[in-house]
Symmetry: C2
Amino acid sequence: MAVHYEHIKTCKQSGARLGKLHTPHGTIDTPVFMPVGTQATVKSMSPEEVKDLGAQIILSNTYHLFLRPGHELVKRAGGLHSFMNWDRAILTDSGGFQVFSLSEMRKITEEGVHFRSHLNGDKLFISPEIAMEIQNALGADIMMAFDECPPFPAEYDYIKASTERTTRWAERCLKSHARTQDQALFGIVQGGMHADLRKMSAQDLVSMDFPGYAIGGLSVGEPKDIMYRVLEDTVPFLPFEKPRYLMGVGSPDALLEGAIRGIDMFDCVLPTRIARNGTVMTSQGRLVVRNAKFTDDFGPLDPNCDCYTCQHYSRAYIRHLMKADEMFGVRLTTYHNLYFLVQLMNRVRQAISEDRLLDFRDEFFEQYGLNKEGSRGF
Amino acid sequence: MAVHYEHIKTCKQSGARLGKLHTPHGTIDTPVFMPVGTQATVKSMSPEEVKDLGAQIILSNTYHLFLRPGHELVKRAGGLHSFMNWDRAILTDSGGFQVFSLSEMRKITEEGVHFRSHLNGDKLFISPEIAMEIQNALGADIMMAFDECPPFPAEYDYIKASTERTTRWAERCLKSHARTQDQALFGIVQGGMHADLRKMSAQDLVSMDFPGYAIGGLSVGEPKDIMYRVLEDTVPFLPFEKPRYLMGVGSPDALLEGAIRGIDMFDCVLPTRIARNGTVMTSQGRLVVRNAKFTDDFGPLDPNCDCYTCQHYSRAYIRHLMKADEMFGVRLTTYHNLYFLVQLMNRVRQAISEDRLLDFRDEFFEQYGLNKEGSRGF
C-alpha cells in the first residue's frame, strides 16, 4: 500500500489522535500541518528552507499545474518531486476547489466540469478520469478524488445532488487511478453544513475503501462553530484506521479544534498568504509588521520564537523590506509563519502524548489572545 | 587606517593587479566584483546565500537608504551591518549618481543638490557634508565622496565646471568625515570622456590623499571602447599603493578589460537586474530562460556551472517559475548570475597569478561568443 496510517495513541482528555502517516517519501508525524506550494513552489521559499523549518509534507495544486506548466511537462521532468527538487512527501488536491473558486464560465455536467482558465480564458474540461490522469502524471504520494465544492450558503437540494455526484465521481476516480502501487487516492466527504448529507457522503465513500478521507467544503465562509459542528457530525463515520484530512484549514485555533475532533492532516495558504502582506503570527497574536509603530522596533517578530527570522532580523528591518517591496522581507515573514504552525503542531502532538490537549488549547488560547470559540487575534 | 590595499603582484602579460583589500570586516581578494544591495538587501537573496556564492563585499546605496528607511534609523539599529545581518565588508556609494539619475527637479548649487524624492516627491537636499553624515550613520567600511555624475554626452565646459566642483566637494567631504578610524573615504575621479579633465580630476584628488580612488561617470551610455580609453587616460594618474574602483560596471567583458587596465574593484546591478527578467549569464553567453524553446529543457542553466541553481534545477522548472511570477525563480537566476561573476573574478585572479590574463581574456571571449572590443553575447 502506497500510504498507510499508524495510530500511536489517543489523547485521553480530548480524543485527539497521535499517529504516523507512512508514505513513499517518508513517515509523517500526525496531526500535521502541510504548507501549500501551489505552483510547484512554496511561495518565496527554497525546498531546503521548507525542510529546515520542519515541514514533513507539502501540498501542491492540481488545477494550477494542469494550467501551467501542464502535467505532461511535469511527468517528462520525472514527476513533481524531481521537477521541484523536493524529496519529502507531496499531496496534490483534486482541482475541484480551484475549478469552482478560480475559473470562469463553469458548467457542471455528470461527465465533468467545463470551464475557462483564469490565466488566459482557454476552454478546458476536467472529469474524474482527467483529474486522475493529471495527478498520476504529477506523481504525488497522496492524491485526491475529483469533487465539487458547493458554495456557502447553498440550497439543501443542490448540496444533496452535488454530494451524490461527488460520490459517483469518486467511484470513477477509483476506477481510473493508474498508480495504486505508489500513489494513494483519498476520498473527499462533502455535504455542506448538513449532518445527514455529511453522514451519507462519509458512509458512501467509506464503502469504497479509500486509504484516507478528506473533509472538504469547509472554511468556505461559514462561522467556525458551524465548521466544528460539521466535523463532529462527520468524523464518527470515518474509519479509525485511516487518516483524516481537513482541507483548507490552517488558522491556529482551527488546527487545535480540528485535532481535538480527530483530524490528522491540515493544509492552508493562510501562513504564506498573510506573510506576503507583512502579517505574522506571534505569541502575542497577529502582528502587522508594516505598521508604523514598528518603525523603530529592533526586537524580533516574536520574542518567544527561535526561527531563522527571529534569530537574525528586527521588526524594523523587516518593515523596511516590506515597505520597499523587497522579496527578502516576504521570505522572512513566510519562514516565520510556517515555522510557527509547524511548532504549534509539534506542541499539539506533545500535548496528545501527555493526554492534555484540552488544557493545552486553553493555555494557548489564553496566551495568544483567543477566546475558545473564536478566531480573535488570528 | 580603516582600509588599506596590499599589492600582491602585477600580471607580467597584462599589467593587471592582484591584491588584497584589508577592511574592518575582512580581507578581500582583488580584483573583486561587488554585488549590489541597494536597499540594505541584495534583491531576493539572504545574506547567507550571498556569502555562500562567494561575495566578499557588497555595495549599498546611500540615496535609497537616506530616503527609506532613513540613515538615522539604520544608525539606531547599530549600523548597516547589524541592520541587514551582513558581517562582511560593505561599501556605500555617495548618492550622487542616484540623485542625478533617479530624483526629480534637481537644482545644483555650490552648496549641494536640491531634489525631489522619486518615492514621494519630498523636497530634499544633499551636500557633501550631508552625504558624509548619512554614510557615517550607515557605517560602511568604505564610503564615497559626494560627486556630480554629468550626463553623456555633455558640453566640455559643463563637464569641466562640474568636475572642478566635484573636487571642491571632495575636499569638504574629507573635512566633514567623522569616522576616519573605522570608515575609509574614497574620492571619485570625474571628467567625462576627456583625457585632460580626467587627468586634472585625478591629480587634484590624489593631492588630497584619499585611501582609495573610484572612477565615476562611466558606463553612462558611451561605447565600451571609449570607456576603456578613459580608463587608460585615468589609471596612470592614480597612486599605485591605493585601490582603484570602477563604478557601475559589471558585464563580463568590462570586468576583464577593466582588470587589464589596473582596476581592483567593480560593482553593478546587471547580474541581479537581468536575473529578475529571467536572463542569465552562461558559458554559452546570455540565455533568456523565459523563452519558449526552454519549455522542455530539463538541463541546468549552464552545463559548466556547479552553483546551487545548476545543481538542482532545470531550465524548464526555472522557466515555469518565471512565467508564473514565482519569487523562487528570481532567487535561482539571481544566485546563478552572482555566482557566475564571482567565479569569473576567481579565474581572473588565477590568470593574473599565472601572468596570462590577456590569454585568459581571449579564451573567455572566444568561448563565450564575445569579440574583443564588444559586448556581444552579454
